[in-house]
Symmetry: C2
């Protein structure tokens, strides 16, 4: 009844969304601020009649607006139903086991290995450095691989890689192997590699509207890269589902990109709160990995990551704990509104007593 490929699947587990009580959600890296106020205005006056028509399957107006923002051409942009779908299409087009395994960091976005089971691709996890940063040198030591994918900044560590280091890395990667840099969190302070797509035709940058543009609910992600790679992603899309981005989401994406003031204001505020919370945690004796994202990855001597996660949940705050050897001591905390982070800090400063 089921296919062999189906029986091999090992699906992704999204962050929990419990409905038993009202939580302060610091577990799925959502933005504490709503999207641009222009979006509310647009929805208010939208002509719903247009929904009877199929959306533009190529999202041309949206791609044009994104391309102008990043100083590239519309032919360099591919849009999909969230960056998860864009990443999935990348795996389909660019990665296959006959060329070797796909390389990604040992601790990273947990959807990466899931896609490999979906498409039947071998993978190899490259260990992090001792300071939990991505070890690009170790990637370069492998000479047999089908491609490379990593986030910048990495999740769940939040640690970024500088542009010069990315440039040097890309110059040494085999030219016939695609490197996907997943920049889901890049707007919160990491270096984007978009400026390098003209230099490296095997580089594909993937971004999302879910985090810095507060549109997780609308499902919109995109890739930026050489025209040949973008054309390939379109061929994959048109073999899977021709219209992945609905008509309303295309409009919301255009509005979100155009409202640069609101974008900069909310991103700056999150960065400011992140740095304040990080400093407060440091003074409470917590270790905080240096974050270029809208979340922090923290641990404390003699504190169990799992137990502090459970304790916070009981108190009404959801954070994320990864039950994986090597990072099981940490919890990942999304940067929420200032008032929520104050509650979090108040609670966590009490934690030591409770854990005994």
């Amino acid at each position: 009844m089921f296919t062999k490929r189906f029986t091999n699947l090992s699906p992704y587990t999204p962050g929990e969304q419990p409905r038993d009580m009202k939580y302060i959600k610091l577990n799925t890296n959502e933005n504490p601020y709503g999207p641009s106020p222009d979006i509310t205005e647009f929805l208010k006056s939208m002509d719903a009649d247009r929904l009877r028509l199929y959306p533009d399957p190529s999202s041309l107006r949206l791609r044009t607006v994104i391309s102008e923002y990043y100083g590239v051409n519309a032919e360099n942009i591919f849009t999909g139903n969230g960056s998860d779908e864009v990443l999935s299409f990348c795996y389909y087009a660019f990665f296959e086991s006959s060329q070797g395994p796909l390389l990604f960091p040992e601790h990273t976005y947990s959807f990466y290995p899931v896609y490999t089971t979906f498409y039947g691709i071998d993978y190899f996890k490259v260990p992090l450095n001792r300071d939990y940063s991505i070890n690009l040198e170790a990637f370069l030591k492998k000479d047999h691989y089908t491609g490379i994918i990593f986030p910048n900044p990495n999740a769940p560590t939040g640690m970024g890689i500088a542009l010069g280091e990315l440039d040097s890395f890309l110059s040494k990667v085999q030219k016939n192997r695609i490197v996907v840099i997943d920049e889901a969190y890049v707007d919160f302070g990491a270096d984007s590699a978009v400026s390098l797509i003209g230099k490296y035709r095997n580089l594909l940058v993937v971004q999302t509207f879910s985090k810095s543009r507060s549109l997780a609910g609308a499902r919109l992600g995109f890739a930026i890269g050489d025209g040949a790679l973008i054309k390939a992603l379109n061929t994959v899309k048109d073999s899977f589902n021709s219209y992945p981005v609905d008509a309303i989401t295309q409009e919301l994406g255009i509005i979100a990109i155009k409202d640069t003031d609101y974008f900069q204001k909310t991103v700056s505020e999150i960065i400011k709160v992140r740095d304040e919370v990080s400093n407060a945690l440091l003074s409470l004796g917590w270790e905080v990995l240096p974050s270029a994202a809208n979340f922090i990855f923290i641990r404390k001597d003699k504190v169990s990551g799992r137990r502090v996660y459970e304790w916070l949940k009981k108190k009404g705050i959801l954070v994320r704990h990864f039950n994986q050897p090597g990072i099981e001591d940490f919890i990942r905390v999304t940067i929420g509104e200032k008032s929520d982070m104050k509650l979090f800090l108040d609670l966590i400063s009490d934690y030591k007593q409770v854990d005994k």
Copy 2:
């Protein structure tokens, strides 16, 4: 640079959406009426702030409303980003070449063979009957196949299969092979097989909000079937993209299902206009296949399908022509608003003179 599976792709070609002039669009089976007026009201008062949060990955409220409408349980419903995505997931979970080819009708929805190239599945096209209806007997004569898929009513013919015939067919199909009935157009007068899902655990019915519920722009489709099949589709989804249905679309789907009055009124009007147009064409000497859909498939002696399509396009009306041996004489005409169909009839009654 590209994978072998990628180089084998043969993508779908959506109906043309030319931008050079304003056409009367009778080519992509869109609904001439907008969605329920309650949708305009909802969008007007929607709190855009919620878009910062991920949507419910399981679309539970939407699935519950759909399940109540069809008299099944929420566990019998799977929702996806348009029925195209739902169909794609079905191929992944249920069809593989080691079990034999996938069977579908010779003339049918042109995405069916595209999915087979996407997943590397063999297929066999079962010829239609001489009257262009689907030949279910011919499907049953095959004893080696991985599964069966066909639309009811079929596209582009518009011809439906009666429930009794479906029931008898399903009783003879191998129990360990999935039958997908694609009911994209069922609401316009064909018999739905939803009442049979309790009887046949290998039956999966797929429907869409794009046609009878006027939400092509919102991208929403669903499957109805035994809980085990639905669970499998969820596993596929969670290995590809956890959140395919955005937060707004989930709400629009709920509203569209609940507004049964508007649904019945608009569907009845389309059926009425379809029957009027069909009769007018018959009296003009056209052959009209009996349609249970929101489109008609028509031809006329000594008239070239391609040429009448091109002539109508020049005059500002888009219809669809399929350049395929066996149906190349036909054009497919979507049933639009009464006034547009009057223009179409006025034009086409002149056609004979022009074609000489």
